[in-house]
Symmetry: C2
Subunit: 356 residues, 2 copies
């Protein structure tokens, strides 16, 4: 067993590989293109493993992620976000020389800005119209808006209209299968209405992309999407683990290893707090130790309630924490220890980490 310097992000090779394979097989059986979201891992090594199992490319949210993925050999990147500043649009134009790049739009001003930069730089980019699918965030709200936007996109010869992005963020975390199916049906219905209106105006939607780890099985039943963007399935954080399990099922494979540094009567202090774990989706679990519970994070400290511990924790002991939310947790880490049966097999760079 390697003694890890903690806190450190750790992937357990075996459940991780099973997760990648299960999703790849399910997408293949469903006849859906799988384009895993790299915002979950931000790691081109993981993207290459997903591509090797049949993924058509990756999604990114931040431009830094897209830059890292293209540099790491990914040839097809969909930026599932709006981009409006000249510097980032110039970065996208540069990426479009090396790879197939897609970008989302929900406003004519975004199209004007992107069109101008891409034309000046001769960069061909795929354009997707984002539909407000229930996430209460970005997206056009009606078929009419979508038709108007498609006409604006068509005025820019270097923007190639490819279809729709329909991502229902809230549906991912609905706990019951029935709720998620209802949400997927709503989102699919909105997408179909837009597709029909666009067809009437002469625009064909080659791709309808969306879905996440919470909703893809429900989206598969609805059958409107032809591309899935799931990312978290590779790791399964605590939050996704609380959804009623659908088929296929995934296992926790991402952990934050932490060390006990101080003892008190009813708790111990460990070296993993706000700088090692994201808490936006709640507290982490202690892997394999349901008798221990994490509480009270500070910047560099966490506490483990040991009042019900079956075996005591001593100074120097290590615990493996299952993060509440994997995506922002990895935003805190520059590297991941890829471990097999307790030994580090490789250190992977989180090469797409960073806010931009």
């Amino acid at each position: 067993m390697t003694i890890l310097e903690t806190p450190i992000a750790v992937i357990d090779a075996q459940p991780f590989q099973r997760n990648l394979e299960r999703m790849a097989q399910f997408a293949e059986r469903s006849g859906i293109r799988l384009r895993p979201h790299a915002k979950s891992h931000k790691c081109s090594e993981i993207a290459r493993r997903q591509l090797a199992l049949g993924a058509v490319g990756v999604c990114c949210q931040a431009i830094g992620e897209a830059v890292a993925m293209v540099k790491g050999g990914v040839e097809d990147v969909l930026i599932t976000n709006m981009v409006v500043t000249p510097g980032k649009l110039a970065q996208i134009a540069e990426l479009a020389r090396q790879a197939s790049i897609g970008l989302c739009f929900d406003d004519e001003e975004q199209v004007r800005r992107a069109g101008e930069v891409f034309a000046a730089r001769g960069a061909q980019v795929d354009a997707y119209i984002e539909i407000e699918a229930g996430g209460e965030r970005c997206g056009v709200e009606s078929p009419e808006e979508a038709v108007t936007l498609a006409r604006t996109i068509a005025q820019h010869p270097l923007l190639r209209f490819m279809g729709l992005q329909v991502y229902h963020g809230k549906a991912q975390h609905m706990r019951s299968i029935a709720e998620r199916r209802d949400a997927a049906r709503d989102a699919g219905g909105k997408a179909l209405a837009v597709k029909v209106a666009l067809a009437g105006a002469g625009f064909s939607c080659e791709r309808i992309t969306g879905a996440g780890t919470g909703s893809f099985a429900a989206d598969a039943l609805v059958g409107v999407l032809n591309e899935w963007q799931c990312g978290s399935y590779a790791f399964m954080d605590r939050d996704y683990g609380e959804n009623d399990a659908d088929d296929p099922q995934f296992e926790h494979s991402l952990f934050i290893a932490a060390t006990v540094i101080s003892l008190r009567d009813s708790f111990v202090v460990i070296d993993a707090g706000l700088k090692a774990l994201a808490f936006d989706s709640g507290l982490p679990l202690v892997a394999g130790r349901p008798d221990l519970s994490y509480f009270g994070p500070n910047d560099e400290h966490g506490r483990i309630d040991v009042s019900k511990a079956r075996t005591p924790l001593k100074i120097g002991d290590q615990v493996h924490l299952i993060p509440g939310h994997c995506d922002p947790t990895l935003a805190l880490h520059d590297e991941i220890a890829f471990m097999r049966q307790g030994q580090i097999e490789a250190m992977w760079k989180v090469d797409g980490r960073g806010p931009r």
Copy 2:
């Protein structure tokens, strides 16, 4: 005005400089050593500016912070934390060849582990006993425990007993001045009781170190500490801004710049969410725009309620957000734009960033 690629951490030079000077002057007038906590900024450039104004050194929590500070020229670092793994203790031994290093203890097992590594490497390190001052985290709980621990420390010739660490984390965020004074008095009383017991056992406390941006003015009145560890005063996050103001006062100087990327009816979407801001102390404020309020962060998105906006926000507009909590916010950023009157004067590396 420089067009920033966002989200990006920004320091406004003028309030930042005034904050550094006000704290330095108050510490000097109070006759207290100022040892600013580098966990707030993790940036050796900022540490050097604090030292130039009279700081005696810095505090660090993570070893990576201490490594960056020593590499950046800081000659005196107190690690205000417990360290128990061989790898980190070896790093500390290496740092102790280049700088004066202090370390905290609250358990004999920590002393045994540190003493062994430092003896093997011939590294002299200052030892502080941490007292449980009200933060419900680390620290010995009685004068008797402290005396026992001091005797253990004395058995290790390369550990030099220097005194006490008395940090009351909870006191920093008590809103009223009266509450903070009560907490400071309690913590000071505990420290004095330990100091007296140690003196009776032949141990002299040369330094009693503690305090933060919330409590230092109250600690000054109590007069037990002779070293302050305040860090957040340099930036003033939203949380500290909500304390009833004591004297001296500080100004917000750290911001996260973000760009409007999409428009909806009652809100706009900006490109700063969980990957750009920490939310453990709540939501950020929009600087200079009390008519706007941030809500609903996602990984790479935030929303700004514009229902009460005096002037509308357009796509491409930028806002400056005052983080809820500066320390974990900077844990997300590799660099800071140091700006003077809207122009970038320098880019500073957050060279101590990282979980370990």
